[in-house]
């Protein structure tokens, strides 16, 4: 299976970034500019979140962005169009659609996956589409559509569930980590570090880690541990308070 996620990670030197945009926030044109800027700064993995009214796994920043996008009338169709345009323009970037179970369910899972693939996406992140529900076991179907099912776990995810997830996951496995705050800088908590080490051995898959990364230091702390650092709400916060220039500076600093 030819897939940009595999390509982005196969020839990767050091830790890669996976960034996040909420389609339609602040609007679709700024999304396009933001994605171009990310690609220019060497980001090879970009999540496009299809906004949803009830985003169960998102914190306040991304939740508000979802609502603001919906208030402007953004639909899944706009998100597919955004991805299609940008994936043609930036053929080396791996785009992943992130959203919640009801969006593919309303469209029909097969139709959703076909559209995601047609618009140039390489993977799906669907945190509440549980693999242990009969219609949530979408990993095989995703692969048939040329999409990696990127499953989201946490250090509490242990065997036997972890084994079941590993048997389904491909391309990239996404885990959350906990951070302990010590003095001025944040440090990774040891449980999280051990978890990712073991996971890397066990999974045989690239590991993406996210924990509210908000500084280039955080990214460097993950280097050598995880393959990918996920940066979500921090980019929205930067954009809201200081504009695209601040996002650009931040990504440049992460790449140093």
């Amino acid at each position: 299976m030819e897939n940009n996620i595999d390509r982005a990670l196969a020839d990767a030197a050091g830790i890669q970034l996976m960034t996040h945009v909420v389609a339609g926030y602040p609007n679709l044109d700024v999304n396009a500019d933001l994605i171009r800027l990310m690609a220019l700064r060497g980001v090879k993995l970009i999540e496009i979140q299809i906004p949803f009214t009830d985003p169960l796994a998102d914190g306040p920043t991304i939740m508000r962005a979802n609502q603001a996008a919906l208030d402007q009338g953004v639909t899944p169709r706009h998100c597919f169009e955004l991805c299609a345009a940008l994936s043609r323009e930036l053929p080396e970037v791996a785009f992943l659609f992130m959203t919640y179970a009801n969006i593919p369910f309303a469209m029909g899972q097969g139709a959703f996956m076909a559209k995601a693939r047609q618009s140039g996406a390489s993977g799906l992140i669907l945190p509440d589409l549980s693999w242990d529900e009969s219609d949530g076991d979408y990993a095989g179907a995703a692969r048939e559509h040329g999409l990696h099912p990127v499953m989201v776990i946490s250090p509490d995810t242990q065997s036997p569930r972890l084994d079941a997830i590993l048997s389904r996951a491909s391309g990239l496995l996404y885990t959350t980590l906990k951070v302990g705050i010590t003095g001025a800088g944040a440090s990774l908590d040891q449980t999280g570090v051990d978890y990712v080490r073991n996971l890397k051995k066990k999974a045989g898959l690239p590991i993406a880690a996210g924990f509210g990364i908000s500084s280039p230091e955080h990214v460097r702390m993950l280097d050598g541990l995880a393959d990918v650092a996920v940066i979500g709400s921090h980019i929205i916060n930067l954009m809201d308070t200081s504009g695209l220039g601040a996002v650009d500076e931040f990504l440049a600093a992460c790449g140093e």
Partner: protein, 412 residues
């Protein structure tokens, strides 16, 4: 997976299930195993029964509504008076059961969502009783329209957290509570207030609420020596209705009626009638069921004069009973509910909650069409004191505003 977990239904037909981010699964599995362990444990059930009797005032009366029956001229109408339970509504049945379970699971904190405030009030009450720390998440819109309950929760020692996301009503309070739980799993139990959400909540809440139907069944057999032919309840998420209905589901020849919020009318956003137009299935808030949603799968805004019915989803077991034509749902408009509220108050000296007034309105539609020898039980799920700010504004506006102004002016 242990074999014992097969005893709790995870699905109702195609509905229900557990559609949640993986990080929530360990907590739900712990709850599932804990509930399995204690639900038939003699000490647990004895403690719960004792609290039901001596703390809640159970059994609640099954009252023959003679005047209403005479005026409508149809079947005999009995009222199950859940409003006489401690804290004024059926919500305490479930809150007590879950608090007892939380204690046994070693939890020190409880969290809850609330719409009308009745479940929040019940949760704050049991938290006070069992020495548990309590946070109640409540949509900002509901905080405004149900302030008397907010005050009571604070009085009981709970922290009330206004939810400012989305539509700022019940569904957003559920999201906020689930998110808080994800971040505080270790010592916290989530007392979910309705028979919905991810497994095992739908079955656990139904079981705790089934005390309503078990009592009603015994009471009607004692009074009439036979079963009713019609059961009526209002349906928001559906906990009072499934609690009344469930113990009767295996009896032949009973019709089950659910009264939904018809709101201002059938237009999108004006009601919470999930079964009103062309019902649509979805996967939201951890479970599969019918949801009011647009063609993309976005939940729609809802409206009801009663905060407790103002919710876009419905419990998965009720969804399955709807598919099988066992429960029939009807939308009741705000206007009809308020009419029923007035009629019940005047005829029987019982002030029902606005939620329950929807059930009364459905009973008023049905009873005249039914033979005199048939029996109907209507669940008066709560009493109407909490709605005084809404009903007074609707029914006695000028005097009420004058009173409020006077209170503000001279209250200090």
């Amino acid at each position: 997976m242990s074999r014992i977990s097969d005893m709790l239904p995870r699905h109702f037909g195609p509905y229900g299930g557990r559609y949640v981010p993986e990080m929530l699964v360990p907590a739900l599995e712990e709850l599932e195993q804990g509930y399995l362990k204690y639900k038939d444990d003699p000490e647990f059930t004895a403690e719960l029964t004792d609290l039901y009797q001596n703390y809640c005032g159970r059994p609640t009366p099954l009252y023959y509504a003679e005047n209403l029956t005479r005026e409508l001229g149809g079947c005999k109408i009995y009222l199950k008076l859940e409003g006489l339970a401690h804290t004024g509504a059926h919500k305490i049945n479930n809150a007590l059961g879950q608090a007892l379970l939380a204690k046994r699971l070693g939890k020190t904190k409880v969290i809850a969502e609330t719409g009308a405030g009745q479940h929040g009030l019940a949760s704050a009450t049991v938290a006070a009783r069992f020495g548990l720390e309590c946070k109640v998440f409540m949509g900002e819109v509901d905080v405004r329209r149900q302030y008397p309950n907010v005050y009571a929760m604070k009085l009981l020692g709970a922290e009330v957290v206004p939810v400012t996301d989305g539509t700022r009503t019940l569904k957003d309070a559920v999201n906020a509570t689930l998110k808080y739980w994800i971040q505080n799993l270790k010592n916290t139990h989530y007392i979910l207030g309705s028979a919905l959400g991810p497994f095992p909540y739908p079955v656990m809440v139904r079981d705790f609420q089934s005390v309503i139907g078990r009592e009603a069944r015994a009471q009607i057999m004692e009074r009439e020596g036979r079963l009713p032919s019609h059961l009526v309840a209002c349906v928001g998420g559906g906990s009072n209705s499934i609690g009344l209905f469930h113990p009767f589901l295996n009896d032949p020849g009973i019709r089950f009626h659910g009264a939904e919020a018809g709101g201002r009318g059938p237009a999108i956003g004006d009601n919470a009638a999930r079964f009103g137009g062309s019902p649509k299935i979805g996967i939201v808030q951890g479970y599969k069921s019918y949801f009011l949603q647009d063609e993309s799968g976005q939940l729609q805004n809802t409206h009801s004069v009663s905060a407790g019915l103002d919710y876009a989803g419905v419990g998965p077991e009720l969804a399955w009973l709807y598919d099988q034509n066992i429960v029939e749902f009807s939308p009741i408009t705000d206007v009809k509910a308020l009419d029923a509220f007035k009629r019940m108050t005047r005829l029987e000296g019982i002030i029902p909650a606005l939620e329950s007034s929807h059930a009364v309105a459905r009973a008023i539609e049905l009873a005249p069409t039914l033979p005199k020898d048939e029996i109907m039980i209507v669940n008066i799920s709560g009493r109407g004191d909490k709605d005084i700010f809404i009903t007074a504004m609707e029914l006695d506006r000028e005097n009420w505003i004058a009173f409020l102004e006077n209170e503000v002016r001279h209250g200090k």
